[in-house]
């Protein structure tokens, strides 16, 4: 579980100290830190060396996921030699990671989030998260308002988390 706050650093990868507002720091700190860690995880071949490892990214929202996938795929094209450990394009591995929704983006048109999730084939990997009781928690009702199909809503609110944590539908741990 890669949690954004545990990877935030005031200088790397983003010069957070130049912001005078928490608005600026909080926008850039969480997302850019998690992206830097994820880039390193991919470029050092973690998902190739440990194919059974389940990786989840939390507390960063989800809108950065398609950006990073596409950016990495583009760079990979020219620089495969630097990361010959990869057997597929970076997005192939990123699509297998799990993404927690909080702090879920709140576009004017909530349908945009459905489109966004489709960009990273996220219906089987996106998990509702609340971050309760932090100041920027999400109430389940907000994610519930996203116009998912019932099937996808069921996955986001439960089935995907069961897969991540290896728990069956009766609540039994499968990895003990």
């Amino acid at each position: 579980m890669l949690h954004s706050v545990t990877v935030v650093h005031p200088v790397f990868p983003f010069n957070l100290h130049v912001f005078e507002t928490e608005f600026g720091r909080h926008i850039c700190g969480h997302t850019f830190s998690i992206m830097a860690n994820l880039v390193h995880m991919i470029s050092s071949g973690v998902p190739v060396r440990y194919p059974q490892l389940r990786i989840a990214l939390t507390e960063v929202g989800i809108s950065w996921v398609p950006f990073l996938m596409n950016r990495m795929d583009k760079e990979y094209l020219e620089r495969r030699r630097e990361i010959p450990i990869l057997e597929e394009r970076p997005s192939h591995y990123m699509k297998k990671f799990f993404y927690a929704t909080q702090p879920v983006e709140e576009p004017e048109n909530l349908r945009d989030l459905v489109t966004l999730m489709n960009l990273y084939d996220g219906e089987d990997t996106t998990i509702f998260a609340s971050d309760w009781p932090h100041h920027d928690f999400d109430h389940p009702s907000k994610v519930h308002q996203i116009p998912f199909s019932n099937e996808v809503r069921r996955k986001v609110f439960g089935d995907n988390a069961l897969r991540l944590f290896k728990i069956d539908a009766q609540g039994r741990r499968l990895n003990l």
Binding site: R49, L77, E78, R80, E82, P84, I85, E88
Partner: protein, 122 residues
């Protein structure tokens, strides 16, 4: 299936060992590679952004990392890799396989040497 036609593209002396060059056959541009005495042909067009992929100056090897060697970097495919001069996408000449994207495989042309002539079958 239509019979492939043989086209003479030059004398053997024009294709020294471990060199390659682009020839024109009708409207096609084909890269003819002589790798250690074995001949291969690839289309001179990169499926990525239509770059002249066989116009890279030299063929090289490339870096790979495999589980059997504990994921250490190794130099492999010496002389068998051509990189498109536009964006550097690498291809394995004997098979046409793109190293970065396993779903991309170039067509390969059969190249034969007969009576001191190099011929490509199209």
């Amino acid at each position: 299936m239509t019979q492939r036609k043989e086209h003479v593209v030059g004398d053997l002396s024009e294709f020294p060992e471990n060199s390659h060059k682009v020839v024109k056959v009708g409207r096609r541009e084909i890269g003819i590679f002589n790798i250690g005495g074995e001949f291969y042909g690839l289309p001179n067009i990169c499926p990525h952004q239509t770059g002249p992929l066989c116009e890279g100056k030299t063929t090289t090897g490339t870096l790979v990392a495999r589980k059997v060697n504990d994921w250490r970097f190794e130099w492999d495919y010496e002389g068998e890799i051509v990189a498109c001069p536009w964006h550097g996408l690498e291809y394995h000449v004997p098979t046409g396989r793109c190293l970065a994207f396993s779903n991309i495989e170039l067509r390969t042309y059969e190249v034969v040497v007969e009576d001191g002539k190099v011929k490509v079958r199209v």
